[in-house]
Amino acid sequence: MNIISRLLKKNISPARIAGFILSNFIGLAIVLGGLIFYLDARSIWESEDSFIRSDFLVINKKVTSGNTFGASSSFSPQEVKEVMDQPWVRKAAPFTASAYRVRGALNQNGRGMSTAMFFESIPDEYVDVPKAQWSWQEGSDEVPLIISKDYLTLYNFGFATAAGLPKMSEGLMSGIPLDITIYNEDNSKAIQLHGRVAGYSNRLNTILVPQNFMDWSNGQLSADAATSDPSRLIIDVNSPGDVAINEFLDSHDYEVAGDKTAASASFLLKLVVGIVLAIGAIITLLSLFILMLSVSLLMEKNREKLHSLLMLGYPLKTVGAPYNKIVIAASVGACVLALAGTLCLRSIYLEPLRGLGAETGSFLPVVVVALLLTAIIIVFNCVAVSRKVKGSWRISK
């Protein structure tokens, strides 16, 4: 060790530096642990539904014995207008239902299934699929579809198991031709089509087709399509968590389609992770001040020496260097420990979490955050060191 370091590191308190490393380690580990857990766990609740944005709500009337026998389960024009007039509604559109019959058939090496189906459509602006994948032109017999993920689940775990058919992944399913026949009420007119699955949605319990196909097919096969009231509305809301939304829906006996528990679980996860991150950030911040205080105290004890070295003509940087080295070594040490701790934590929960169906996230953001926080601590402290060195340049009398 050179003479300067030997001089300036005198009075160093290993206990204080260890105190910083420990507190910085704890703070960083909480921040990083919370972050990686959030990244890993969120896929359980937030399976990315890329077709419908999360601030779109689909509402329908609650099905009660009342509307089974008489009372309408569809929205009258007045009711639609009332929804659209709510302050939390940015825009809204009704679902258009098919006014004809649909039969879909899957064929796989001679074995297959066929089922009665239905179509619905919403204006294309509500569907978040690239235009090229979500378009239909008159004359084309290939229709893109977005189907509910639940249907695939029903097929895989219900039908396929019972019928001895192979289970299918989303990708595989999309590749299998779906033969569709649409025909009118009295079976006097039928149109043959091919379905192509463009995506699966968790939030739409329906089979969606492009709006222009719906308009065209309704026109072809039904005369009174335009007059039927919609049974579902899609609403673009300002903030999905707004209490006013629930109050309105409850008072009108409307309900939101899709997985609401996932939304609240995801909200709780975010809240808890937010609290954990805040606690970790506060501890990290406090550790920054612990380091600043200990280095400051050390430099104060060595102030005479700092002054003497500056009187000899040593550059400020050289005089500050031993303290910067302490700061960097301690911060980087704590950072490495925290990253190692985070990896340990992750190895404990990763297997059970995968069992719950989580697609684990990347570790990179955690490393980036760790480096960023460490860089902030280092910069703050090095600035403090440099100020302290400058402060001891002149001993005021």
């Binding site: 003479i3 020496k305 009187m311 000899l312 003509g313 040593y314 550059p315 400020l316 340049w393 009398k397």
Partner: protein, 216 residues
């Protein structure tokens, strides 16, 4: 950059401003110190000798009037510029010596010499030999007598290039013999560099060759 002259224009320590001070060659006068000359500044204790050195060395600024290096006001110098000046233009031996007590004589001297790479080890050893401090080479300065420390500090102060060397009561604890040796070592080094010697004293002046005497 070389500093050829140091000018003091009506300089006065602020603490003296409200006091009536006796006539002085330095305070509130117009004085020019030139390279190559020897100056001996004599005063009673409390006359402001150390203050004068600290002003010229940039470590204190509590004065009225101006101090100019080559006609440039030193009040405008920043820290980095001062550090360069301290390494290459002005050497300073403060009265309190500012040696590091935990370091040996050799380490204290090397602390300066490694920074400036001015003198060879042989040269330093020769100086230490002449001034009679070689036997304390690897002895911590904190355990030496003041006279021995003064000798270490004298050698440390010349381990750099300089245009002016400020010596604040450099030989106050040395006998006449060592005073002469110190004076000759400093004078030789100053002459070699064409530099000025500015030495203060309260009664035991550095024995310089026909110095210009100034009273504070």
């Amino acid at each position: 950059m070389r500093i050829d002259e140091i000018k003091l224009e009506h300089t006065l320590p602020r603490v003296f401003v409200s006091e009536k001070i006796p006539a002085s060659d330095v305070w509130q006068a117009s004085l020019t110190l030139r390279r190559g000359q020897h100056y001996l500044i004599e005063a009673a204790s409390g006359g402001g000798k150390s203050s004068l050195c600290a002003y010229i060395f940039g470590s204190r600024t509590d004065y009225e009037g101006k101090i100019l290096f080559n006609n440039e006001d030193i009040a405008s110098f920043g820290i980095d510029r001062w550090q360069v000046i301290r390494r290459s233009n002005i050497a300073y031996l403060p009265q309190e010596l500012s040696l590091f007590p935990e370091l040996t004589a050799w380490e204290n001297i090397q602390l300066k010499n490694r920074l400036t790479s001015h003198a060879t080890d042989e040269r330093i050893e020769e100086w230490m030999d002449r001034i009679g401090i070689s036997f304390r080479r690897d002895y911590p300065c904190g355990r030496m007598s003041i006279g021995q420390q003064q000798r270490v500090a004298i050698i440390r102060s010349i381990c750099q290039p300089f245009d002016f060397i400020l010596l604040d009561e450099p030989v106050s604890h040395l006998d006449e013999e060592n005073n002469r040796i110190a004076a000759s070592i400093i004078s030789e080094e100053a002459a070699r560099q064409g530099a000025a010697i500015v030495s203060t004293s309260v009664g035991n002046p550095l024995i310089l060759n026909s110095p210009i005497r100034l009273s504070l």
